[in-house]
């Protein structure tokens, strides 16, 4: 970090955490232990609806937006949010290739 200077021990841990988590890698192995094989979830970049081991979505190896993206156009799911027909026609406008651009997709809150 350039603009925030970590002062206490917790701040340094936050800084280390952010530095180590710059990119999202499924079930990232600790530094130094490579190569690793992602386990415990789908290997393809198009999973269905899933939850992590704790029953939430925070620990998924792909962000939950990706799941929604999969429903957005290709999947029949009459009540999905966002829907591409009426309310969020431009939701994926900045996402030409999902594997590269999924970060550009925002969460929506109806």
């Amino acid at each position: 970090m350039k603009h925030l200077r970590a002062v206490n021990q917790k701040a340094r841990r936050i800084e280390d955490y952010l530095a180590a988590n710059d990119d999202v890698v499924g079930l990232q192995a600790p530094a130094g232990q490579r190569p690793h094989v992602p386990m415990g979830c789908s290997l393809v970049f198009s999973p269905g609806w899933e939850v992590d081991s704790a029953g939430g979505t925070a620990g998924l190896c792909q962000p939950v937006e990706r799941d929604l993206y999969d429903c957005y156009i290709t999947c029949f799911w009459p009540a999905q949010v966002p829907d591409h027909l009426n309310n969020y026609p431009d939701w994926t406008a900045k996402c030409a290739a999902a594997t590269k651009d999924w970060r550009n997709i925002d969460l929506v809150f109806p």
Partner: protein
């Protein structure tokens, strides 16, 4: 694109620099002027990324966002993790006896607000129970290299023969398992003898003396059954202790009441006249209607005095010198390590209290209370009772605390104080919220000043035990 707004933090200044204390992570970051400008802008209301990009670089926005100092719609701080069910014990407080040779009116064990129900229970712990307690500590602390026993009472030294037996037994057991154990005790100092002092020094046993200051303050409450004050009895004993026990720092622990609130005078007497290494202060635990209870105005006066003494602490710290006001050192340790507590203290989790009968209580303050027993050293903890105690004490069950920036260090405050005040160990201690925030803010400013002007000094707090 959703709008940015301020996240949860407490901003403070120290040594001419600007800092954020992030909540609930408890990370402390120093801000540069562009990041400060972004926060100032968001104090006016929400703003889009474009608005913010007009006053600061993109990476300023990203850094603040990553640290959760600024947030967007849908942000929810991840919940604090619950301690695991088999969280290993670290400290056992052994009440060697529930008997005391003093009759301090405010005592939480004997006074008007007592929770103990000692009727029909042993008055002194015997060695069988003590041995079972030590065995329980060793099995329940699996995986920890260093463990700790604090001897407590009643008056601890009324059962000094057992203390020596426990030290021998536990030290031998620790050596067998290649683990380290250390001991400390709290005493009213009336029964200290040269032989006891030599023993405590030889075994490196930490000593905390309950003492309320000068003769005038001390003798208001710390009296024998006939009403005579104990100051004159303990003063020479305390001097002998401080002179001859050199292996561990000796601490004084002051209970403040409405009739003894002279923090500065008390500190000066205990630190400089008598020579204690550190002095710690705590307001008396009482229901609010007691005459000796400190009311709101009294707490304000105490806070003002704390601040005056804390300023003295800062002067020392900037010169790299030790200062004995332990309330500051304790809080700085928590701030430096960045603790974010799920529970106010380790009671019922990494720490338990054991009474003379072998009953396990969340801590020494609940010992001998039938209502709060969590188990027995022979059978271990009753997990259902422990869970009930811990889930009520968890910060997430204290709704009042959910908007308070001081919750990482406070977590609602002492379980025992809450029980005495509100009849529920899980109730937040709402009577001292302003006090806690005022004091935490003061300590943050001190922390910021030290970080700006003598950062090396903070290393002292990297290892100091934080609650």
């Amino acid at each position: 694109m959703s709008k940015y707004r301020l996240g949860e933090f407490h901003a403070f200044e120290g040594g001419g620099r600007q800092y954020l204390y992030l909540v609930p992570s408890a990370g402390i970051f120093e801000l540069d002027s562009p990041s400060l400008a972004v926060l100032r802008r968001l104090e006016q209301g929400e703003a889009s990324r474009a608005d913010l990009a007009a006053i600061a670089d993109e990476d300023v926005i990203d850094e603040l966002h990553q640290a959760h100092a600024i947030i967007t719609d849908g942000f929810a701080a991840p919940p604090l993790q619950n301690p695991s069910a088999d969280f290993p014990l670290q400290t056992m407080v052994m009440n060697l006896t529930n008997q005391c040779n003093l009759s301090c009116q405010y005592c939480y064990e004997f006074g008007e607000d007592k929770v103990a129900t000692p009727e029909g229970k042993p008055k002194f712990m015997d060695f069988d129970t003590a041995r079972a307690s030590v065995d329980y500590l060793f099995t329940s602390s699996a995986g920890r290299r260093a463990i700790h026993i604090t001897f407590f009472g009643g008056e601890t030294l009324m059962n000094f023969p057992l203390l020596k037996q426990v030290v021998d037994y536990a030290s031998t057991k620790a050596a067998e398992q290649a683990r380290s154990i250390d001991f400390s005790l709290t005493t009213n100092a009336t029964l200290l003898t040269p032989a006891i002092i030599d023993y405590l020094s030889e075994k490196s046993i930490g000593v905390t003396v309950s003492m309320d200051g000068s003769k005038e303050s001390h003798d208001k409450f710390r009296v024998f059954a006939n009403g005579r004050g104990s100051y004159d009895i303990i003063e020479p004993r305390v001097r002998a202790l401080l002179k001859n026990h050199k292996t561990r720092p000796i601490t004084a622990r002051v209970t403040m009441t409405s009739q003894a609130m002279d923090v500065l005078g008390t500190y000066k007497h205990l630190k400089h006249d008598l020579g204690f290494h550190e002095v710690g202060f705590a307001p008396v635990t009482t229901s609010p209607n007691r005459l000796y209870s400190i009311n709101e105005r009294g707490l304000d006066s105490v806070l003002d005095q704390f601040r005056a003494l804390a300023a003295e602490y800062l002067d020392h710290a900037l010169r790299g010198e030790h200062h004995g006001f332990s309330n500051v050192s304790d809080t700085l340790a928590e701030l430096h390590q960045g603790v974010s507590k799920s529970h106010p203290c380790g009671a019922g989790l990494g720490l338990v209290g054991v009474g003379p009968s072998g009953d396990i209580a969340p801590c020494h303050r609940f010992v001998d209370s039938d209502t709060h027993t969590l188990g027995h050293v022979s059978t271990g903890l009753d997990r259902a009772k422990q869970n009930d105690f811990l889930s009520r004490g968890h910060i997430h069950s204290k709704i009042d605390c959910s908007t308070c920036w001081a919750r990482p260090v406070c977590a609602g405050g002492c379980h025992h104080e809450a029980y005495v005040r509100y009849g529920d160990t899980g109730h937040p201690n709402l009577h001292y919220c302003d006090w806690i925030r005022g004091w935490t803010d003061t300590c943050l400013e001190i922390y910021g000043s030290i970080a700006a002007r003598n950062p090396g000094f903070l290393q002292h707090f990297a290892e100091r035990k934080a609650a």
